[in-house]
């Protein structure tokens, strides 16, 4: 039969230029969200609301870009919506010391329904939602690289970065030195959430130019997995996002063809690779020691 080609042609699809560029397009929102997660997790706050934050940022970015006609204002709004939701999350997990897993899951559920609700209110069902003006790839790549550099430099060579890491490793010591644990975590959660919101806005204001319900389709969860894969370091996060993007692009392209390799292999690949990375590097554990543990001075 003619339409059954060998696995080698599947390989060709994966390394072709168009797949790589599509991969980069798919990688940018995930990379931004993962960088956001690195910031808050290094401070000890496990943010399982990432998916919800991306979705909120995406809707905020889309509505504002649609109203103002400028996708750039949309991007800024995505950042702001992410930060505002981050403040709500921080109120729960830092100030109230609520369970971080539960709060994050609950927030993601809330964001999924609330964005659908707002979207259904704003755009009548059945009508075609307006396309917004799109931002081309180059500025988005520059923005992502800019964020990468800022996060990298901040975490590695500024006092703020050191305090963030200290608060995530041994909050007791940081507290004893006079750094304010709760304030640091609060701000880190807001900053990380803002980046996740920006990631969502990049998704809709970028090449897509459209919001649909659940537009993020699990990318926030991917970003969370990437942080583990990257062992809480910014640069491998972005590299991992690129790997994920290429896999995603490859499975999208392979769906239309019938090759020796099922496209589902590429769907599963990023998660299997992350699992493998966790297993292979089990001995060299870099998980922030206080990740997910609320800080309570009276019991510390």
């Amino acid at each position: 039969v003619v339409d059954v080609v060998l696995a080698s042609s599947a390989f060709d699809v994966v390394v072709s230029f168009s797949t790589l560029s599509a991969g980069m397009r798919l990688a940018l929102p995930v990379a931004l969200a993962a960088l956001g997660a690195v910031v808050s997790e290094r401070a000890g706050v496990l943010n399982l609301g990432l998916e919800g934050l991306m979705l909120s940022g995406a809707l905020g970015g889309y509505v504002v870009a649609d109203v103002t006609g400028s996708p750039w204002i949309g991007l800024a709004c995505g950042l702001a919506v992410g930060g505002a939701c981050g403040a709500l999350l921080a109120l729960f997990v830092v100030t109230l010391r609520a369970n971080q897993i539960v709060t994050g899951l609950a927030f993601t559920l809330l964001a999924a329904s609330a964005t659908s609700y707002v979207y259904q209110k704003a755009y009548a069902i059945g009508s075609i939602p307006p396309r917004i003006e799109r931002i081309s790839m180059t500025p988005l790549v520059i923005i992502t690289l800019g964020v990468l550099v800022v996060v990298l430099v901040t975490l590695r060579s500024t006092l703020a970065g050191l305090v963030i890491s200290a608060v995530g490793e041994t909050p007791v010591a940081a507290d004893a030195l006079g750094f304010r644990v709760e304030r640091t975590r609060f701000l880190a959660t807001i900053a990380g959430s803002a980046l996740a919101g920006l990631g969502g806005a990049v998704l809709v204001c970028g090449p897509l130019g459209l919001f649909i319900q659940n537009v993020t389709a699990g990318r926030g969860w991917v970003a969370l997995a990437l942080v583990v894969f990257a062992r809480w370091r910014p640069l491998p996060c972005v590299a991992g996002a690129l790997l994920f993007g290429v896999c995603d692009a490859a499975q999208l392209r392979l769906q239309g063809t019938s090759t020796g390799v099922p496209y589902e292999v590429f769907l599963a690949a990023p998660y299997v690779v992350t699992l493998a990375a966790m297993v292979l590097r089990a001995r060299d554990n870099r998980t922030p020691a206080a990740l997910g543990v609320p800080y309570d001075r009276s019991t510390a």
Binding site: L96, I101, T103, A106, L110, A225, A268, L275, A290
Partner: protein
Amino acid sequence: MTVGVREAPAPPAPDAVAARWLRADRGRSIIVGVGVPVAAVVAALLLGAVLIAVEGENPVAVYVEVLRGVVVAHDGPRNTMIAATPLALMGIGLGVAYRARVFTIGAEGQYLIGAVAAVAVVTAGGLRDLPGIVLVPLGLVVAAVAGALWSAVSSFLNARFGTSIVISSLLLTYVASAFVQWAIRVGIKEPGAFIPQSRLVEHAELPEVPVLRTHLGFVLAVAVVPLVWVLLARTRAGFRIDVMGNNGSALDANEAPAARITLLVLVLAGALAGLAGFVQVAGVTGRINGEFSSGYGFTAIIVALLGRLHPLGVLVAALALSALTIGFDVAERAYDLPSALVGVLQALIVMFVVAGDALASRRTAT
């Protein structure tokens, strides 16, 4: 330790998350245990009333219609029980795991794997013509075993490599989802179908229960409640689960390896999630297609928490959330309301419970 079992590495941080939260759970009075969820439901309904008023509808009339849809309408109680079945089954299993402070969030993956494995067996050539009395138990067993094995992977990785269960169970869910897509496109595809879907389960369809008019799965979920209750309250394993949840080092002193209890609770949670998967195929959808993955596995986490990790509480919570879904389904037809409203209400309930618990434990802690 005299036993030749490799000692599990210290549990990684994300799994230690709820230490405080669960410890607070123990000393909590029944007032907080039941009062907070009830207050959260009331608060969410009040906020919902505001949203309905903003829509230009009368909140009281809408809520009456919701209630009518659940209680009075012909299929209301039946639909509620059917919708609650997978949530209750998965939530009960998750509740047991969370009691031991084992934080799996992979029920969705185990649900999918259980469903696919069971459908593959009951629709296999040579088996699919057997009578239902053989196929239904076969499907249930296969689904439970497959779900349990899938869940056990997290336990193995945790015991052998110290991998976080939160993260590995989540990653495995995505692998399961990719596998299901392959299965319905290639592996167990219905021959000649134009879209990816499995065969119908036909003879393996769950029988209807006479008076309730639900499928057998609901009875199964109700039957699981006392079984798990007894397991937790009256057996050595149940005691160890609670010890592990409260003070892991006490287990070591008891020479009961934590790894074995982790395996036990994950296998139980996986088996129940797998069962839920088959119950949903054989009781509701009839086959697996592209829309089968519904996020029930994630909603079940919420149900487990609302039910206070107690099997009976979980069943009540599953029925309550499902009643809202079914009731609003009816009310949306009568009034002009966005379909996303009920999701907002349910998520608000959870957020209020989280906030209420945090506030309650702050007050008791100081």
